[in-house]
């Protein structure tokens, strides 16, 4: 079984975010980066599938030089090798452009199962995996919680709204977008980190992939949203703020 996991590097969760000087993209100075959270669950699912079925887990990531760090983390956790699609710093990919690049890289590999996160924490399109499936001609399912291989099929548990779920049977090859969930994420061991250094990381330039690179959307402006609700905000000393809040809750909102 060959499993490809598509992993995106995104700004760390507690980053303070500002628009850059052109007002059209994020100011990237001083940012630190991490693996997109649902992608970490996709990687975990891939590693567990490999433990069950044997085969190979290949990590795939598109981005500038810095994404090598996230790729190494995935290798240290147990992925077998990696493909890094090299992009210039600050390249903005819309989901169709991203999927075109990633699908080209997958095509050359002929995977049985492609796993992506269900959504990126930075751009939040929630689309790249689904578009990859369309471009590759693979079947797909989104918001997947569990994957159960059944010969040349997989049976997956999908999350629906309001606490509902649904099982779906799909033929291989398949693209699945993985939801974060109850499966515990593993840590990289010392041994794993050491071994990662010897694993193959193939770097391909985006040009080499000859993917169509037209953007389907343009970002005109990035900004901190204007808050419009009249909320009463207390700040400063914690004790004073707590006192004021308690008073309001008792005498104004009358809820205690």
């Amino acid at each position: 079984m060959k499993i490809i996991v598509s992993v995106k590097q995104v700004p760390a969760r507690d980053s303070s975010l500002r628009a850059g000087s052109d007002g059209k993209r994020l100011d990237e100075t001083d940012l630190t980066y991490e693996m997109n959270e649902p992608d970490a669950y996709a990687l975990e699912e891939a590693l567990q599938l490999k433990e069950k079925l044997g085969g190979e887990v290949v990590v795939l990531s598109a981005g500038p030089d810095r994404v090598a760090q996230t790729i190494r983390e995935a290798l240290a956790k147990g992925a077998d090798r990696a493909i890094h699609v090299q992009l210039n710093d600050g390249t903005q990919l819309d989901p169709l452009a991203a999927a075109r690049l990633l699908a080209k890289a997958v095509e050359a590999e002929k995977a049985d199962i492609v796993l992506t996160g269900l959504q990126s924490d930075d751009l939040g399109y929630g689309q790249t995996g689904v578009i990859m499936a369309e471009l590759l001609g693979y079947a797909h399912a989104t918001i997947v919680m569990e994957v159960e291989p059944q010969g040349d099929h997989v049976r997956v548990k999908r999350e629906l709204e309001d606490g509902w779920f649904q099982n779906v049977l799909l033929p291989l090859p398949v693209v699945l977008t993985i939801q974060s969930g109850i499966k515990k994420l593993r840590y990289a061991t010392l041994m794993g980190i050491k071994k990662a250094k010897t694993k193959e990381m193939k770097v391909i330039s985006s040009g080499e992939l000859q993917a169509e690179f037209a953007t389907g959307l343009t970002i005109e402006r990035v900004y901190v949203p204007q808050r419009n609700k009249q909320s009463q905000i207390f700040s400063g000393d914690a004790k004073r703020a707590a006192h004021e809040l308690a008073e309001k809750l008792k005498f104004e909102a009358r809820v205690i």
Binding site: P95, V130, D162, F165, I182, I219, A246
Partner: protein, 319 residues
């Protein structure tokens, strides 16, 4: 030329989000100066759709159960026949599953999860959130034909009485061999033992709590208020609290008298589960956290200081 709004129906009922998408579609139609039209797969007569030029009903035995292959093929045929200038969807889980595929098949990008539409010289500019609501982006489609999905709660449904739009059956051509996935019947996990929906006061905790061992800090607040404890998704994913205490689009929907959001950033998937609360109190160290937008009262500060202080103050005012 038209704007086509694809509405979603379940058990013979159109969802609220479908009507919100319709409101957005009407606004986009206004900007483009064209008519709005609607499409419903599995149309049933009790669907009352007004304010559009007509409604296309798409029916086929192969569309009885949702599959991405079936829905994509069916709506693609309608789009090819009508050539709408914009196609608008509610950003539901179902739409997330097939609309990116449909747009890609036509060589377009779906502008997903849109929260507002503005006009710029007779063409629409779409506002979408980045970083789970911490930043906004104004986005324009590069193509003539545009695909957009609309976030829950972002548009107000028109209550104005209007005449029901005429319904036209649109025949689709589908073949069973086109449909690769086999869906089984939807199900729910074992009965919930906690009904957060009935709680009057809820203390809800998010990733700001950092560790499971810190939970007693918020439990103390829940105790003094006689409140139920709830959580955002990552807390339940980590197994720190049981899944049945999760609030949000994939958890429970609650509407207590007071909802305390503690160390919760306020991502839309959380907000949809709690914005029916009468009073919302947010405690967060980040003054720009989107949760403050939904809050009536907020404290900007470190929950590890603010929550114990609040427990003391509540004891005082209660005494």
């Amino acid at each position: 030329m038209s704007v086509l709004v694809v509405m979603e129906q379940r058990d013979g009922k159109l969802s609220r989000m479908s009507f919100e998408a319709l409101a957005a579609g009407q606004q986009i139609a206004g900007i483009l100066d064209v008519q709005a039209q609607a499409a419903v797969i599995g149309y049933s007569d009790n669907a009352k759709i007004a304010g559009v030029e007509r409604v296309f009903a798409l029916d086929d035995p192969l569309l009885t159960e949702y599959t991405p292959d079936g829905y994509t093929a069916a709506i693609e045929q309608l789009i090819q026949a009508q050539q709408p200038q914009a196609v608008v969807f509610p950003h539901t889980y179902q739409v997330r599953d097939y609309a990116p595929k449909l747009a890609a098949r036509l060589g377009k990008v779906l502008i997903s999860d849109v929260v507002a539409v503005k006009a710029e010289e007779a063409s629409p500019v779409f506002v979408r959130q980045l970083f789970q609501g911490k930043l906004n982006a104004d986005v324009k489609a590069a193509s003539e034909q545009q695909f957009v999905s609309i976030q829950a709660g972002a548009f107000r449904v028109s209550e104005a009485p209007a005449a029901r739009a005429p319904v036209e059956r649109f025949p689709v051509k589908l073949d069973a061999s086109q449909i690769r996935s086999k869906p089984e019947a939807p199900f729910r996990e074992a009965q919930r033992s906690i009904d957060l929906g009935a709680a009057e006061v809820i203390v809800s905790v998010g990733r700001g709590i950092k560790e499971k061992d810190n939970l007693p800090i918020v439990e103390a607040l829940a105790d003094v208020l006689g409140a139920e404890l709830a959580a955002s998704r990552p807390i339940c994913d980590n197994g720190w609290l049981p899944m049945e205490r999760q609030v949000g689009s994939s958890g429970q929907t609650v509407s207590p008298k007071v909802y305390f959001a503690i160390g919760i950033s306020g991502a839309i998937q959380h907000l949809v589960g709690m914005k029916g609360s009468k009073t919302v109190v947010a405690i967060n160290k980040d003054e720009n956290a989107p949760i403050f937008e939904a809050a009536d009262y907020g404290v900007v500060g470190d929950l590890f200081e603010v929550v114990p202080a609040l427990v003391d103050e509540i004891k005082k005012v209660k005494a």
